[in-house]
């Protein structure tokens, strides 16, 4: 029996030398340490020997089992860790699972970029209705009835008293009528013009208007604020100029041009070779507007400005047809 024990041990260790993977190791375990393995068979045989033999053999048998188990454990560790290292690598070049790319509409995104700049310098963001009274849209803003200034904004009428607002400027009337100075707000939103639809014009678009009314607000500060905006939005190297213009609700009025960011001011198709791009209209709030909302033009002054969002978006993204913005072709939307 002792011979059988030492023979089992020899066989086990000899076989252990050649083990290359966990499958062979498992086979080895079953052959020797399994339920019907060699060790178990020896224990069965052990039951039949004499008590004296049992004393000697018991010790030997237990020793055998321990040695085999220890060797097995050692092998298991070695093989498993080496198998982990040499496990087949994944093909990292296979495509991943790509979720759909969500996108904001560029008009809304542009509007928010502009809003953010003014929010940072203390402007509130206020919205108003798109169906507006003729009073707020025109009369309060110093557009006399039967005046050619009304031709500047072709209007959709709901009836003689209500219109689709032609600009977001009436929101300033709403703010000032409900609030004492100081008033400092920007007013983003959708506006409508009764214009034929083609590549360059659409019957609706979006604007951001701004107003600041307080004691001692001046044109110089208007320039400062808008130059700050232009530098934040178009880069600190942007050149600018303010040209006199006309809006019924501001006086003096101006239009702000910046160096064409497409050609850098050299002149191109977009800036009509002038090197300049008009980006907004502005001016000092007309005393008639201040009087209309019950402010005293001798006590307070204010500035106002307004810009068209589509134009800015289109220039920025080199879009040459405004209709693309409202056709909502997914192939277009996903480009931004």
């Amino acid at each position: 029996m002792l011979n059988k024990i030492s023979e089992t041990k020899r066989q086990f260790f000899a076989a252990a030398e050649g083990i290359k993977n966990s499958k062979e190791l498992e086979d080895l375990r079953i052959a020797h340490l399994g339920r019907n393995g060699t060790v178990a068979t020896l224990f069965e045989e052990f039951k039949t020997v004499t008590p004296e033999e049992k004393r000697v053999l018991g010790k030997e048998l237990n020793l055998l089992r321990q040695e085999l188990q220890a060797k097995f454990d050692e092998l298991k560790e070695v093989i498993e860790s080496s198998e982990k290292l040499s496990a087949p690598k994944i093909d990292i070049s296979l495509p991943g699972r790509v979720p759909n790319k969500g996108t904001g509409h560029i008009v809304a995104e542009t509007m928010n970029e502009i809003i953010t700049i003014f929010k940072k310098i203390g402007f509130s963001v206020v919205t108003g209705p798109e169906i507006e009274s003729d009073k707020n849209n025109f009369e309060a803003l110093n557009f006399p009835a039967d005046h050619p200034a009304r031709d500047m904004q072709d209007t959709f009428f709901i009836n003689k008293d209500f219109v689709l607002r032609t600009h977001t400027t009436p929101v300033q009337i709403r703010i000032m009528q409900t609030q004492e100075p100081p008033v400092r707000a920007i007013m983003p939103g959708r506006v409508y013009r009764n214009e034929a639809i083609n590549a360059r014009s659409y019957c609706m678009f979006h604007q951001v208007d701004g107003i600041y009314v307080d004691e001692k607000v001046t044109f110089a500060e208007l320039k400062g604020t808008l130059v700050h905006f232009a530098k934040e939005y178009y880069g600190s190297s942007v050149q600018y100029k303010f040209r006199p213009s006309f809006f019924p609700f501001t006086e003096p009025s101006a239009e702000m041009d910046i160096t064409c960011f497409i050609c850098g001011g050299k002149g191109c198709r977009v800036c009509k070779q002038s090197g300049w791009l008009e980006i907004l209209g502005c001016g000092m709030v007309d005393p008639n507007v201040l009087k209309y909302v019950g402010y005293d033009p001798e006590k307070v002054t204010g500035y106002a400005f307004g810009m068209g969002i589509e134009r800015i978006s289109m220039l920025k993204h080199d879009i040459n047809d405004i209709r693309l913005l409202y056709e909502n072709d997914v192939r277009f939307l996903k480009q931004f």
């Binding site: 296979l94 509409h105 050619p148």
Partner: protein, 801 residues
């Protein structure tokens, strides 16, 4: 407004200033120069030449081969114009010339085998007019071989200026010159008019009566007799052409010329056609028909101001004359009308007639009520010179007392108050004097002006501040970076919408923007629409009452473009009419909504992914995720709408507390078919203003769980009609607070395996207690109690596991 450089040089000496500088300074003073046409440069390499021979092209029916003499050589030109003929003096584009309206450069070439060394041009090709019927033929006296610009009298520069509605004075060469005089601080030249008169007096041949002095406060007239109607002199034709007007005859041209010079529209009546030799200015009789000189019959209304003779209407005041008193080739005696009409009156009539003319354009904006007689005399003077006319002595001039000049006072300190910097007082006064603003009194604090008639826009102190600012230059106003204002709490009306947008974009939705103007019929499905009185077309006749229609139109457009899988959202206002008519803001509702829309495939087949169509539960999941970002409490209602909903096949209302904040469902087939959409579209619409903001309610921290969760699964076979939410509510109601979460992990329907009308629902229940570890026993007890209750309540069969 086209302004001719040589013309303004008659009024202000700017010979030493470059064209670019003039243009820049005009722009910086508010007269924006939109383009500059330099004819000298434009017609470089264009010369005059004589056609000496014309033969048919051997290889082309419509072409001819011409020999032209340029004075120094004879060139061969292939020409396609039918009117070319030997003996004509023509404009010739030679090698290297750039054709203005086509932007190509002339090169010697062969056309159908024949040599062509240039091009004979039409007026259209030269950018002179739209006439492209044939080549331009110059007058026979034209010298051969001279530059075309010289031959055309167009060696000149034209500025196209965009005139804002407040500056009617700048609709004339005189007005633009006045600004230049102020800009460059140079004197303005005036013309001395003292034409020779004959002894006969105007009162003997004409009389004037004004019945409506409110709308016609001034009417001036001069009579010129014995005129010979014919061609205008070339210099006048050239200037008119450069200013964008066609030559008609010398009399009409003179009235136009004076208008372009002074801004005062004139009308020349054939005096012999004026019944009783009288002019009566009065309102029209309602319903009268009147043929204007463009041969169109117009319907007059009682509010329109007319010029009448002793019997009939002869002109619509300030807009257009009538055919019946038009100057013809046989006209000899002329009454020149130079009047001031009320701007509002002219504008209303012009709009009612849908007729805008050079005259009405100026009258609407306000002409110079002081300048009427000067303009009439200037025209008379020109008629004497260029139509052999004789000017009668005296003039007729009726002027209402209401016409007075306005007095305006400027306080010097207001300049600094508005502009933020001070302009020296002497500089201010000099600017105002150069602008001829009638400075009559200057102290150390104020300057008082009597504003002349040519500046109707100046009425108030602020108008003077603007004049000073624009002439002194906006560039001179400093740029002050100051952000200081009392603290007021800033609001942001768009904060909610924008944070929802960010979540939706993060979930992979593409934002769309649709027109708010929609067709009436499909808009009415989702609410009584607000119609627009003057829509562009029927497709855009009402304001949208939902964003769903626009969204479905977008889906259709994309399907057409081959894009079948979409997750879209839009935010915007919708409008629903409440009252019979819209008399106040209460008669309609305008609210902001966010719409989500999914259609097509949720996943396409890839190497590691199976294809799957979007279904209702996808959108429901997106909606839940969106709502949980914003709401303290949001729940989907249990009201299932199925029948009679015009939009949804099935839908659920969405609630926040008691408030209905939206709806989610599947668009029904009949609504989809209106948009030609065949695939399933799922849609949710949320009313933004009704959504409760998370930050409005304080959210308290929940301690993180320290004890293990115990999880149990079971599956039951239910009747198919038993709804999931009924079962899950039942489980919740019949369990202790230890049950924290119920989720459905499997749904199985198979007629053979579990029977018809049956389905198996498999739930996972999660138990835990925040304060202790639960024992297996108590959970087991709880779990088996629920099993029994479900079995009993729903007559359900527990499936073995």
């Amino acid at each position: 407004m086209k302004i001719v450089l040589s013309w303004i040089k008659e009024f202000v000496d700017i010979e030493d200033i470059s064209v670019e500088k003039i243009a820049h300074e005009l722009t910086m003073a508010g007269l924006e120069v939109e383009s500059i046409t330099n004819y000298g440069e434009m017609f470089d390499k264009f010369i005059t030449a004589e056609v000496i021979e014309k033969i048919k092209h051997p290889n082309a029916d419509k072409l001819s081969v011409c020999k032209v003499n340029t004075g120094s050589e004879v060139l061969q030109i292939v020409c396609g114009a039918p009117n070319v003929a030997a003996g004509q003096i023509i404009p010739l584009a030679t090698e290297g010339a750039r054709i203005p309206n086509a932007d190509f450069v002339i090169k010697t070439t062969k056309l159908r085998g024949e040599l062509s060394q240039g091009m004979i041009c039409s007026e259209s090709e030269l950018g002179l007019s739209n006439d492209h019927s044939g080549i331009m033929v110059l007058s026979p006296e034209t010298k051969i071989g001279i530059p075309l610009a010289e031959a055309l009298g167009q060696n000149d520069v034209v500025f196209e200026i965009g005139i804002t509605p407040n500056r009617p004075d700048a609709l004339s060469h005189q007005g633009v010159s006045r600004d230049l005089a102020a800009i460059f601080n140079r004197p303005m030249k005036t013309k001395n008019l003292s034409p020779e008169r004959i002894a006969k007096r105007i009162e003997e041949v004409a009389k004037i009566a004004i019945e409506d002095k409110v709308n016609c406060p001034r009417y001036s007239a001069v009579v010129v007799t014995d005129c010979k109607v014919g061609d205008s002199p070339d210099w006048m034709k050239n200037r008119l052409r450069m200013a964008g007007m066609r030559s008609i005859n010398n009399i009409v041209d003179i009235t136009n010329y004076v208008m372009l010079e002074t801004g005062q529209p004139l009308h020349a009546f054939d005096l012999n056609n004026l019944a009783k030799s009288s002019i009566i200015v009065k309102k029209a009789n309602d319903g009268t028909k009147f043929k204007t000189l463009d041969s169109v019959e117009r319907n007059l209304s009682g509010s329109m101001l007319m010029i009448c003779d002793g019997e009939k209407e002869v002109a619509i005041a300030g807009i257009m004359g009538g055919e019946n008193s038009e100057v013809s080739s046989t006209t000899t005696n002329i009454l020149i009308e130079s009047a001031y009409f009320d701007p509002g009156c002219v504008r209303r009539s012009a709009r009612a007639l849908g007729l805008s003319t050079e005259a009405s354009y100026r009258f609407e904006r306000g002409t110079d009520f002081e300048g009427t007689m000067y303009a009439a005399l200037l025209a008379a003077d020109l008629m004497q010179k260029y139509a052999n006319g004789k000017i009668l002595s005296g003039e007729l001039d009726i002027r209402a007392e209401s016409l007075t000049k306005k007095e305006v006072t400027l306080r010097f300190n207001q300049i600094e108050r508005i502009l933020g910097y001070s302009v020296p007082q002497d500089k201010v006064v000099s600017i105002l004097r150069n602008l001829q603003l009638g400075v009559k009194e200057v102290t150390d604090k104020i300057v008082v002006m009597t504003i002349p008639g040519f500046r109707p826009d100046i009425e108030r102190e602020i108008d003077i501040v603007e004049e000073v600012a624009r002439i002194h230059g906006y560039d001179n106003i400093p740029t002050v970076h100051r952000v200081s204002s009392p603290l007021v709490s800033a609001v942001d009306d768009l904060e909610m919408v924008n944070s929802m947008r960010r979540v939706l974009i993060g979930m992979g939705f593409n934002e769309i923007m649709n027109n708010s103007l929609q067709p009436a019929e499909i808009t009415a499905v989702t609410g009584v629409p607000v119609p627009v009185m003057n829509p562009l077309n029927a497709e855009m006749s009402v304001m949208r009452s939902s964003l769903i229609q626009g969204g479905l139109a977008t889906v259709k457009n994309n399907l057409n473009a081959g894009e079948k899988d979409m997750r879209l959202f839009e935010y915007g206002d919708i409008f629903i009419k409440k009252g019979e008519a819209i008399n106040s803001f209460e008669d309609f509702e305008e609210v902001t909504v966010v719409t989500m829309l999914i259609t097509g495939k949720a996943a396409t087949k890839t190497w590691n992914e199976e294809e799957r169509d979007y279904d209702f539960y996808d959108l429901k999941g997106y909606l839940k995720s969106l709502l949980e970002s914003y709401l303290v409490t949001a729940n989907l209602g249990h009201v299932y709408k199925t029948e009679s909903d015009p939009v949804f096949e099935y839908s659920i209302e969405v609630f926040s507390g008691e408030n209905k904040i939206g709806v989610i469902g599947k668009i029904n087939d009949s609504f989809s078919s209106l948009f030609d959409i065949e695939q399933a579209v799922f849609c949710a619409e949320l009313f933004v203003n009704c959504i409760e903001r998370k930050k409005d309610k304080l959210k308290k921290y929940n301690p993180l769980l320290k004890y293990p969760k115990i999880v149990r699964d079971f599956a039951f076979i239910f009747d198919s009609e038993v709804r999931f939410d009924v079962i899950s509510d039942f489980i919740r109601k019949n369990s202790s607070p230890l049950l924290k979460k119920i989720s459905l992990f499997d749904l199985y329907e198979n007629e053979k395996a579990i029977g018809a009308g049956k389905r198996s629902l498999a739930f996972t229940l999660e138990f835990y207690d925040l304060n202790r570890t639960l024992t297996e026993d108590e959970v087991e007890k709880e779990f088996s109690a629920i099993i029994q209750k479900i079995t009993k309540k729903f007559d359900a069969v527990l499936r073995g596991n």
